[in-house]
């Protein structure tokens, strides 16, 4: 246990207390808490309206769950590469950080490409956001998720550009931790979007 102190205003706090309170991490969790409420509320209304309509079976039969399953696998792979980028950052392995960040960004772009293909198919079949309640929720939920994922891709790409030995390894590891936390959250949201919007209506 360290006995050194850090000066904060006129108060002296033990160094361990001061360093364990990561304001960046808490800030990220506050942001994720807000995002959880947004997605939670949206999915909650989707489920309750589905129950009100006696299920989404008829509309849900038209969603392309096979492409969504491929996208889920892509997101799982991207989380693995993000975790490996964090591992590389911990080991100060600069080529490793860049390699795994590049892979994560590429997998994120692949997800967006598959999603675009899926939307194109839905539109070609005549299912637009104006087709009905189910499709409004489908586009709102998956579209909001796509926006979040795109933001994650931009942030990870920025970190890829910044990942040079000129930067402090500790700085990069910390920023990568926050960015990856966001990326895992986006994956977590997709797990429930996939189960509720794609699989559940097809099971009915």
């Amino acid at each position: 246990m360290t006995s050194t102190t850090v000066e904060v205003g006129i108060t002296h706090l033990p160094e361990e207390t001061a360093s364990s309170f990561e304001i960046g991490k808490v800030g990220m969790w506050v942001f994720l808490a807000g995002e959880t409420t947004v997605f939670g509320g949206l999915l909650c209304v989707f489920v309750l309206l589905g129950l009100h309509h006696g299920g989404w079976g008829a509309e849900g039969a038209h969603v392309n769950w096979r492409l969504a399953a491929i996208n889920t696998l892509i997101l799982f792979a991207s989380s693995m590469t993000a975790a490996l980028a964090q591992t590389a950052a911990h080991a100060k392995d600069w080529p490793g950080i860049r390699r795994f960040l590049a892979l994560t960004v590429l997998l994120g772009c692949l997800f967006l490409a598959v999603k675009t293909f899926e939307y194109a198919g839905d539109f070609a079949e005549g299912f637009t956001p104006l087709t009905g309640l189910f499709w409004s929720f489908y586009y709102a939920t998956t579209g909001l998720h796509v926006l979040h994922l795109s933001a994650g891709v931009v942030v990870l790409f920025a970190l890829f550009l910044l990942a040079t030995p000129k930067k402090s390894a500790e700085w990069l590891e910390r920023k990568l931790k926050y960015a990856c936390l966001y990326w895992y959250f986006v994956e977590l949201v997709w797990i429930f979007v996939f189960a509720l919007v794609y699989l559940t209506p097809c099971a009915a």
Binding site: L32, H52, F192
Partner: protein, 93 residues
């Protein structure tokens, strides 16, 4: 917080586990299981995937109380929200 990074083999194992759970959920639809059984399988798989992501990647297991509060508070808000709008939906039926 345990900041030890995941090893390559740990990351691969986690990915493998998530992929297996994904296949289980998808099979429930592809094999056209009875609706109730399919829903149980789909949600069990989804909750297990979420638990693995939270524990292995987000490292929620070793976080401090404040982070748990921040993670659980919005879920409580959403559950409360659901209960509040249920009467409206029942009335409209």
């Amino acid at each position: 917080m345990d900041e030890a990074a995941l090893s390559v083999s740990d990351s691969l194992k986690t990915f493998g586990l998530l992929a297996c759970l994904l296949i289980v959920g998808v099979l429930a639809v592809a094999l056209r299981l009875p609706e109730q059984a399919a829903l149980v399988v789909i949600f069990a798989a989804a909750l297990s995937e979420a638990y693995i992501v939270g524990r292995r990647y987000m490292r929620l297991r070793s976080e401090e109380v404040l982070i748990y509060v921040l993670a659980l508070l919005p879920l409580a808000v959403v559950i409360a929200f659901a209960f509040v709008i249920v009467p409206d939906i029942v009335q409209h039926k």
